[in-house]
């Protein structure tokens, strides 16, 4: 399953709830304000995910729009642009947008 999260972890519990149910084969994509959760000092639920089998991506154009630098992010985060977003959609089914 591909989980798409678009809210910061300080806005709602979508990311937390998603991580509670995600399995090793699942993929999480952070878009829009959710990219803030990728920051190492954000105290987001992702900080406890180091070593987890869940793969977490962040949408790089949304990071750039918010000044979120890769160097300040958790080291297991992977990055995609919109073309990579499309590839994730093609490679995963079902897709769940969490609001």
């Amino acid at each position: 399953m591909l989980y798409i999260i678009n809210k910061s972890h300080t806005d709602n519990l979508a990311l937390s709830k998603c991580l509670q149910t995600a399995s090793a084969t699942d993929v999480v994509l952070l878009i829009e304000h959710a990219v803030y959760a990728a920051l190492e000092l954000s105290q987001s639920p992702l900080t406890a995910m180091a070593g987890s089998a869940v793969t977490v991506y962040a949408l790089s154009p949304d990071m750039q729009a918010r000044g979120v630098q890769q160097a300040a992010c958790l080291d297991f985060i992977q990055y995609v642009d919109y073309a990579g977003f499309v590839e994730l959609v093609a490679a995963n089914q079902p897709i769940r947008s969490c609001f």
């Binding site: 678009n6 949304d62 919109y82 073309a83 499309v86 093609a90 089914q93 897709i95 947008s97 609001f99």
Partner: protein, 130 residues
């Protein structure tokens, strides 16, 4: 691959319409088919013909109309969501005395059946919202 898109948020308050538009551009470049874009809830504001953003800003409504004209993508506005918000199809507006030219070029108004059809027929369905 056939991909359907659902947009649930208004264009200038949330990023959903921008995210969807950029995603669609990338999907088309990659050779995928956009089966339908369904505008639901406040997403219907993407179809307001008289939207007039400042000249130095992106015009989200015109951008959708251009996408439809260039690629023939089916842009469907939920009838219930639209009528609740005062966006009426021409024939309905004429009947009730409403504004007849509210819907922007390239959009059509229809029911939730077309959302269900898109979810069933497309290979992937993605929802962008607030």
């Amino acid at each position: 691959m056939k991909i359907s898109i659902q947009i649930n948020a208004s264009p200038y308050q949330h990023q959903a319409a921008d995210s969807a538009w950029h995603f669609i551009q990338a999907a088309l470049v990659a050779g995928h088919q956009i089966y339908r874009v369904f505008f639901y809830h406040d997403g219907i504001y993407n179809a307001l013909r008289d939207s007039r953003p400042p000249g130095d800003e992106r015009d989200i409504v015109k951008r959708w109309s251009a996408l439809q004209a260039e690629h023939g993508i089916d842009l469907v506005v939920c009838v219930s969501s639209a009528q609740r918000r005062g966006l009426l199809e021409q024939s309905v507006a004429r009947k009730v005395g409403g504004y007849e030219a509210a819907l922007a070029d390239g959009f059509r108004i229809a029911g939730l059946g077309l959302l269900m059809e898109a979810i069933i027929d497309a290979d992937r369905h993605i929802c962008f919202g607030s």
